[in-house]
Amino acid sequence: MEPKYVSLEMRDYIVSMGAETVNWCMQCGLCTNLCPWRLVPGETSEKFNIRHMQRLGQMGMEGFEDEHILFACTTCSMCQSNCPRGVKIVDNVRAMRASIVGAGMAPANLRPILGSAHANGNPWSGPREKRTAWQQGLEVPTFGPDTEYFLFVCCHSCYDPRSTKVAQSIVKLLKAAGISFGVIGNEESCCGESMRKLGDEELFQKLAQSNIELFNAKGVKKIITTSPHCLWTFTQEYPELGGRWEVIHYTQVLAQCVQDGRLKLSKDGSKKVAFHDPCYLGRHSGVFDAPRQLLENAVDGGTVELSRSRELSLCCAGGGGRIWAEVPMGERFGELRVTDAIDKGAKVLATACPYCMNMLIDACNSLGKQEQLEIAELSELLAANL
């Protein structure tokens, strides 16, 4: 085999892109073994080894640019939350991607997505002026000086026809609970979380700046997000760029309202519901109980716990920009998730993230299990029980 050459310059460049902890890694390999890619067969699974990829980063050695390697990680944080060295693995992945994407070498399939986010402020190729189309037929308040919460709706739920129901349900629930909230509208841009994970640092900075300026100009103090991804970047990445607000996920607000008695739900006894913890709500943000409390109040018997749940939840494969990846059937994490739910005798698999919903629906369809298992976003279940 031809020897590979170590380049400390390359290593230092990757570090400067944000892989600050890559040197901490002692190469124990725990991450590789915890990675959901170990649970599926296929080319990506065979090629992608996060321990190895970080090793290449540590040595500034070539070999990590292969798309199957560099863009495989779903940033689910299963590895990171268990790394004995506290390595910020997701940051390292992001920085290694940035070292390639930043040099203008984004893979072809990602270019339209990044391009759309640049041009339209959303990655879904939706025109900016259509951002509020989902509100049709619903009285959605506009955020004003006296509004308590700004409701930030994820681009996915603004444009994806199936996902708009999520936004609509959340609005219904917030209204029923008597929350003071409002939206800003077409000037909002994508939160940029997934763009940054894909390595487009510049794009992220642009989106974030525009949002920060907008929100601050409107006098936003508190934000409710519909997606855990927006929640995470607003709380973890925006503050150092000047965006400092009190941000919570819709499940948290609603759980509080149920507790206070402001929101009353009727109980539906007809279905067994399992809950899938979204990575960005659970492991990344530490919110595990709020969605369960809500289900407790809306379903007889509460949640059916999946065998891998809470901190050990299995990723749907939609994070880290993987929502745009083409994955052959039989290699999708979501298929394992659907099987998990069916194994537990659940009739409905609920989640609290538009990406998860999207990925699980795809998986359920590819397995042909639509008759046996319904995939739902939690807000939809709750809104039906108002």
Partner: protein, 738 residues
């Protein structure tokens, strides 16, 4: 001593319920005509003890206590060293491991009482050995970190110390180091080490006499009576000391042998100690041109863990290299530093240090180095098989390559000592001699060789779990890197431990007591010289080299070197070596006192010679766990299986005993024998048993050797029952009734 025997039968702990105690008492009063025989339901209680004490007032001086195992209640049943005491184990090894009320259980108990009585009749209270002109001073050989620490600690505990250092100044290797790895939290930075403070603590102490530029020319004698001849500046002086701490340290492995790592062919490939010296000077340069080195690569395990060089791990070089890398990074955080390693052995808190050095951006490459080459511009590249990327890799060019050379014990620097060739007509010795290397450190006047025997790779170490700090020479305690590879922190601990062992030795020896593992034993071997045939078995087989020889090959025992194992007693074909309370004849008579039922009774008898240190306690544990085994066995504890004399086997077999089971410790490289070689010697002697068996026309299956450790209690009933089953197949011993 005029003996008056008292027998005390305890009926507590279930003994009274399981046995016919009245019948048992008859063995004592009837068969053995013992004048005093008492029973008590709780012999170890206050009342029970008083019962015995009252008899002592009435002249009883020899007690046979038939109760629990001799391993328990030792304090309660301690009536002073001037009395004879024998314990009969009715609890653990009879009633707790055999069915109550059974005829065979009763026979077993009665036999054990007979055996105890026989032994008690023959035992004498030991008279401690008292040498002359005893010294409690401690000699420390070597004035480096370990030696200085040992001297300081021993002096701090109130003992006079003689410190001998070869070079002209004290301090050793640590005197020349830039810094040492972190010794305390947060374990992230190297720290300086104040060796001067240690040196002045030693030179300033009025308890420590220091010889520098000095060497040991000769050590004669034995613990508390060592006469040391020290050669110092051309003249020799003599000092009498009690014990020795050997702290001569180690030397780096010879880098000339590491040509495959570029040493010798590239001037900029240097050893770790060379780099350390440059760090100390404050100028790390490339030897090739004298310019400052701007980038460095370390190659670890240079010569270590390599079957071609040192097969062992040198233990300190990983952390030492981390330290050097960290110092370089402290001086210039941007300096490219590589560490090529096999495994990063940074254990314990050093893990935190390793982590810090990783965070500092040192590049760690795991894998074997395949080449160190000139890049064409005069700088060097290091190529390796990188395990972690599964690819061959090449480093960027570096100015300096540092080889972390391994540690070689100073005790290993010497040719093997030639054991004396047997003279014409003498029997060849089958027992493998210990490895003794003539390293010119202690120059012991010992018949088996002039230095401390080595365990592995020339290190004079011992079993690391069972016998830390012990060597095979009583009163001599190797410490620091002469004993095993270790780092500074561990060497200091080691020094303290060895000083403590030396102190124990002088204290015990001066009272005539044995040291570890029979600590406190007052007996010692005595030789009935008139019948000695000068066969040299005892002098060669003693695991501790306790016995010297005169020109005529007469054994010259040194009781303070002796550990009281009885290996010499087992070795002597003339049976002239004995202890006051343990001898060949005594155990022979114990065996003979076992009642052997007639063949048609179908009650076989098995003698179990069980090592007192592991096998016997394991047998007790069988009882404690209430596991059962066959009632045919009669267990006789022995000090060490090496004390077994072949005549016992002949005695047993010619009396009609059906089989003999020897239970000893594990032998071999990772031996667990408390007396190092005893178990192995017993195994070797086994081969000679065949002669005895052939002479008696008996099957070789009748004698079996099993290695058991103290944790083998789960396995023991099976071992005992399997042997009984084998004997059943072989059939009864035809000598029954002869």
């Amino acid at each position: 001593m005029e003996k008056k025997i008292g027998v005390y039968l305890c009926t507590g702990c279930g003994i009274g319920d399981a046995l016919d105690v009245a019948a048992l008492a008859k063995v004592a009063t009837g068969e053995h005509k013992v004048p005093v025989c008492r029973q008590h339901g709780f012999l170890c209680g206050e009342e029970g003890r008083k019962l015995i004490e009252d008899d002592l007032q009435q002249g009883v001086n020899t007690m046979v206590i038939a109760a629990c195992s001799p391993r328990v209640m030792t304090d309660v049943f301690d009536f002073g060293a001037d009395k004879v005491l024998e314990r009969v184990n009715l609890r653990e090894q009879v009633v707790w491991s055999h069915p109550a009320g059974d005829e065979d259980t009763q026979m077993m108990a009665e036999d054990y009482l007979r055996m105890g009585l026989t032994k008690a009749k023959e035992m004498e209270p030991p008279v401690p050995f008292q040498g002359e002109n005893l010294s409690k001073r401690i000699l420390v050989v070597g004035g480096g970190l370990t030696g200085l620490t040992a001297a300081k600690e021993a002096a701090g505990a109130g003992y006079d110390v003689v410190l001998v250092e070869k070079s002209d100044t004290l301090g050793g290797y640590v005197k020349n180091v830039h810094s040492v790895p972190p010794l305390g939290p947060p374990y992230e930075e190297p720290q300086s080490f104040d060796v001067e403070a240690l040196v002045s603590a030693v030179t300033g102490s009025d308890k420590i006499k220091v010889y520098t530029g000095a060497q040991i020319q000769k050590i004669a004698g034995a613990p508390c009576m060592f006469d040391v001849t020290i050669q110092s500046n051309g003249s020799s002086v003599s000092e009498r000391v009690g014990a020795v701490v050997l702290a001569t340290g180690s030397v780096p492995y010879d880098a000339e042998k590491l040509a495959h790592l570029g040493y010798g062919s590239h001037a900029d490939v240097v050893t770790a100690d060379r780099l350390e010296a440059m760090l100390k000077e404050g100028r790390v340069v490339r030897p090739s041109n004298g310019q400052p080195a701007k980038s460095v690569a370390f190659v670890l395990c240079a010569g270590s863990r390599d079957p071609e060089h040192l097969p062992y791990c040198s233990a300190a070089c990983c952390v030492e290299s981390l330290k050097q890398a960290k110092v370089l990074k402290q001086q210039n955080p941007d300096m490219p530093v590589y560490i090529f390693y096999k495994d990063m052995r940074a254990t314990g808190n050093y893990e935190l240090f390793y982590k810090q050095v990783q965070k500092d951006g040192v590049v760690f490459v795991r894998g074997s180095v395949t080449a160190v080459e000139d890049d064409g511009s005069g700088a060097l590249t290091v190529a390796a098989e990188d395990v972690l990327t599964r690819a061959p890799i090449v480093s960027e060019s570096v100015d300096l390559v540092v080889l972390a050379t391994g540690m070689v014990s100073t005790a290993s620097l010497g040719k093997p000592y030639k054991a004396q060739q047997p003279k014409e007509g003498e029997e060849e010795l089958e027992v493998p001699a210990d490895t003794i290397l003539v390293s010119n450190l202690l120059n012991l006047e010992y018949r088996q060789g002039p230095e401390v025997p080595a365990l592995k790779y020339g290190f004079p170490d011992s079993h690391f779990i069972c016998f830390p700090y012990e060597s095979r020479r009583t009163g001599i305690y190797p410490a620091g890197t002469v004993r095993a590879p270790m780092d500074y922190a561990r060497a200091m601990d080691d020094a303290t431990g060895a000083a403590l062992k030396a102190i124990q030795c002088v204290e015990m020896t001066s009272q005539g007591k044995a040291v570890h593992p029979r600590a406190g034993d007052l007996s010692y071997p005595e030789f009935f010289m008139q019948r000695c045939t000068q066969c040299k078995r005892c002098t060669e087989e003693c695991p501790f080299g306790a016995i010297n020889e005169d020109e005529k090959a007469n054994p010259l025992p040194n009781p303070t070197r002796c550990r009281r194992c009885g290996v010499c007693m087992g070795a002597c074909p003339e049976r002239i070596i004995s202890f006051k309370n343990y001898s060949v004849g005594m155990i022979g008579n114990v065996i003979k006192t076992i009642e052997v039922p007639e063949e048609d009774e179908e009650k076989p008898r098995i003698v179990v010679l069980a090592c007192e240190n592991d096998a016997y306690p394991a047998l007790d544990m069988v009882g404690i766990r209430r596991a059962q085994y066959n009632p045919w066995v009669r267990v006789i504890p022995v000090r060490c299986l090496g004390s077994m004399n072949l005549v016992w086997i002949a005695d047993a077999l010619s009396k009609g005993i059906d089989g003999i089971l020897l239970l000893g410790c594990k032998h071999g490289d990772d031996y667990q024998c408390h007396f190092v070689k005893g178990s192995e010697l017993a195994n070797i002697r086994m081969s000679k048993i065949k002669e005895t068996l052939d002479r008696l026309v008996l099957e070789s299956d009748r004698v079996r050797f099993e290695q058991v450790s103290i944790t083998d209690y789960g396995r023991l009933p099976q071992i005992l029952d399997d042997f009984a089953a084998t004997l059943e197949n072989v059939g009864p011993n035809p000598y029954k009734g002869f």
